[in-house]
Symmetry: C2
Subunit: 180 residues, 2 copies
């Protein structure tokens, strides 16, 4: 186990409504000093939900993504609000985004998206025993909900609009969990 680099200095370079850019001065155990930039994540993190129906169908959503300026297919997700836990946030997000609540919710892992420069953690929650229940969300337009079989991930990952690494990782992990 290596000794972690020592943080000599942290300063804020920029702060907007969504982003907080920091500069770090680090000294590694071997004496080398370097400067890094990183984005702070929200302290609570986010949830990514795998809403699973009884016949191995998962419910995907298709919505506009401003980062890539195109519609993307992915699992439902969202930030954990202050005072919420991951399970509670997961149950809220699926009610807002796909119109289902879940009787069983279970956190199966936590993922990072780009640990080198993003301090962001996403908790993956498997939601089963679903029931129709809709809560109003803050989406600018209705979200398309697309059922997809866990037995057909090859075709899904070949689609040009299904590229999000967290969703791909979560679906494979759930499939392995069910089949393991």
């Amino acid at each position: 186990m290596r000794e972690k680099p020592r943080i000599l200095d942290i300063r804020t370079l920029a702060r907007t409504r969504l982003f907080h850019v920091q500069q770090l001065e680090l000294r590694f155990a071997n004496g080398v000093e370097t400067t890094y930039e990183r984005l702070l994540g929200s302290p609570q993190g986010a949830v990514l939900v795998v809403p699973l129906l009884e016949d191995r169908q998962v419910l995907l959503i298709r919505e506009y993504a401003a980062g890539t300026d195109r519609y993307e297919l992915a699992l439902p997700k969202g930030r954990i609000e202050t005072g919420e836990g991951a399970i509670e946030a997961a149950n809220r997000e699926i009610q807002e985004e796909i119109g289902y609540g879940a009787n069983h919710l279970r956190q199966i892992t936590s993922l990072t998206v780009a640990p080198g420069y993003l301090g962001h953690s996403t908790h993956v929650v498997l939601a089963t025993d679903l029931y129709p229940q809709r809560m109003p969300g803050d989406e600018p337009e209705p979200i398309d909900v697309i059922p997809w079989s866990l037995d057909n991930l090859v075709e899904l990952t070949a689609r040009e609009d299904f590229t999000e690494a967290r969703s791909i990782a979560a679906l494979y992990m759930v499939r392995e969990l069910l089949d393991g």
Copy 2:
């Protein structure tokens, strides 16, 4: 297929060495107008390499990640330099990070990490027929290289230091490609 929202205005909110934060004013097809923030990615994107030995062992690296302030296990990766293609960048990154070149390199997919707010694309390259070859990189300390079997992804994804969604997605996709 929905009609994409119209971009009414784009402005730069912040720009540092690594990050470029933009604000977008959008009008959706239904008339709703909203404001988004996003990070521009590098135009060339990044590569993530799956260096595969003949016995279904992949070579992982373990290095310090400033975003999460801890050591993370993941596949080798890096930005594509100006003038490079994805394959060329992949072969350079593994020579720098794990001390191998590859005779066969093949792009298997492209991943996004957070398409809602990050315009960043990562090309996944499968590298086979490896041979020892080291190029100097810009790492502040030597990188640990850890071989791991594709037949043991459950134990790998259960590790607290293996959380990066792109690496998990890429390993499952390569395993499916080999076994498919």
